[in-house]
Subunit: 351 residues, 2 copies
Amino acid sequence: MKSVKTITDIAKECGVSISTVSRVINHNPHVTEDTKRRVEKVIKKYNYSPNALARGLISKQSMTIGMIVPDISNPYFYTIFNEIEQAAHEANYSVFLCNTLFSASSHAKQNLHNEETYFQMMIDKKVDGVLIAGGQLDLVHLSQSYLNALKHLSQALPLVIIGKPIDGIDCFYLNREDTGGIATALNYLASLGHKNIAFIGGEDGVVITQERIQMYKETLLKLGLPFHSELIELSDYYTPDGYSAAMNLLDKNIPFSAALTANDNVAIGVLRAFADRKIKVPGDISLISCDQFHTADYLTPRLTSIDRHTGLFGKYIIQVLLSIINGITEIPSIKVPYDLVKRESCIPYSK
Amino acid sequence: MKSVKTITDIAKECGVSISTVSRVINHNPHVTEDTKRRVEKVIKKYNYSPNALARGLISKQSMTIGMIVPDISNPYFYTIFNEIEQAAHEANYSVFLCNTLFSASSHAKQNLHNEETYFQMMIDKKVDGVLIAGGQLDLVHLSQSYLNALKHLSQALPLVIIGKPIDGIDCFYLNREDTGGIATALNYLASLGHKNIAFIGGEDGVVITQERIQMYKETLLKLGLPFHSELIELSDYYTPDGYSAAMNLLDKNIPFSAALTANDNVAIGVLRAFADRKIKVPGDISLISCDQFHTADYLTPRLTSIDRHTGLFGKYIIQVLLSIINGITEIPSIKVPYDLVKRESCIPYSK
DNA sequence: CTGAAAGCGCTTACAG
DNA sequence: CTGAAAGCGCTTACAG
């Protein structure tokens, strides 16, 4: 395309062989100080830097990793990505961000094979490792086609999956406890005297949602609180979804004095729906979010949330991926904490 | 690393030369239907797909692009990225997302050469084109080191910069009108009878901020409204920044009945600050945001905003980059509209 | 210490 | 239509 020097150009100008140039580039000690200096001077002169494609071809390392997520505009994913990318960059890796646009709620409408084409691209591009978070992965029922593609990927490259192990797919699975926050939130609300507690958000047909509902049920039982399946209103993880879910819930006309929300984005929608129905938070209903994003502390009321420390989890993920790339197969386990952050949206029950 | 077939493996198993295999891969018509079928069968059998590194080395096309942004968690950037990535993927490109973490507000503290190392990485990896949005680029004063790195990049690869032309850097510049929204917002507030209008948000030392303030000044003048430089409170583009900026502004004790906010995130912080000071929006102060994100319609009050259609701009950007990669040097210009979206946060002035 | 040669996995003229 | 050869820009034994 444009004027970019190659190792041959440098070698010629220095009057040495390309082997010698290669040696100085790679800090091979078997080079005279003098020739080394001479070569380095020319390298600097042209700002020469070796072609990573050629290098990758021969060294079997592209210094590249792939991250496959459904939607980078989701704070959960971009928080993880930020950590991944930063650590990767520090380790001299570049990262392909693959945004598949997969949505569990509406996946009938979309191109079901989109994720699979991303898998193949990562294989073709010889990334040194791939990370998958979210997408079809989380579905309760996986299509055969997806499974095949995933298997093919796992056989071609070091693969890290954020989630529960999938039958027949041999790769590394990193899992964070996804339900503990639910129990913590519920215990807190119960301690405030709330009895009828709604559950808003979480996609239908997704493993995590099932587990969370299970935990919701169990915890209520343990606390001796009533369980009404009608108080569960699923939805996607975004603000508009929270809004419509809250409206649907309200339309059922089942009394509740507190609500659990999948994350802060959903909470914003719920807050809006409640305001439209003249329901005061926390005056009429207490609200707690199970996954804190960045705005919780600036909403009105300030949102009581569970901080799941997703950033920490991201740091852990990339650390694992990098060590796997370097041949370490023993992965350290980690306990990512989750903390209850009490703010203004929950108050004691009073009737 | 793991078992991945090469063109040689396929050729051997088919009993043909690698040239022939290459021809069927590349849909070269000069292959007998019969051999073609035979080769394709084996390709399918092993799920063979050519090594993109080797391909890129010879064809001078890596089918890869780079996008360099300061912070992907910023809705402005992720909205653009989403469009870029989707269109790129449809055109069979993968995208390296480089998150430089550059912040104009606090760049004294950070690694100033971070962006430059990303530039070099993109050159080394032989991406087919690079896109830069935000970062040092937007600064009023550019460091010589950055300028050199940028020049080097522009000479090595097709480069598209989102922003104003920079002296001495020959590349493609895509610029959207960044100040029109200010005038529209101001006109609207004036039409509601507001006279003292504050300006909150926008980083200091950045070109766009200068232009916006200039526009703010000019428009007030045109409208015959007073201009108080004390009513300008700069800050970064995030919620906490909006909060502290609003607090600072309030502490000055200069009366105003309406405020312009750089974007919705800043507006959320401002809303919170006002609430803490018992100032009602829109009762006491009307608020308008100059760049709408996704939550505007769910805040309380619902936020009146300028919709700058950043997604559309993103579609345009990638279309331009792709055509440049394909050798088209004539870039179509576009007029991205901006619309005033009236919601609840602005009401007529009444004293 | 240094260079010539082989090879990474492809594509593309060039012969046949 | 098909194969042998050259070559993309590197790295890495192998000689010297």
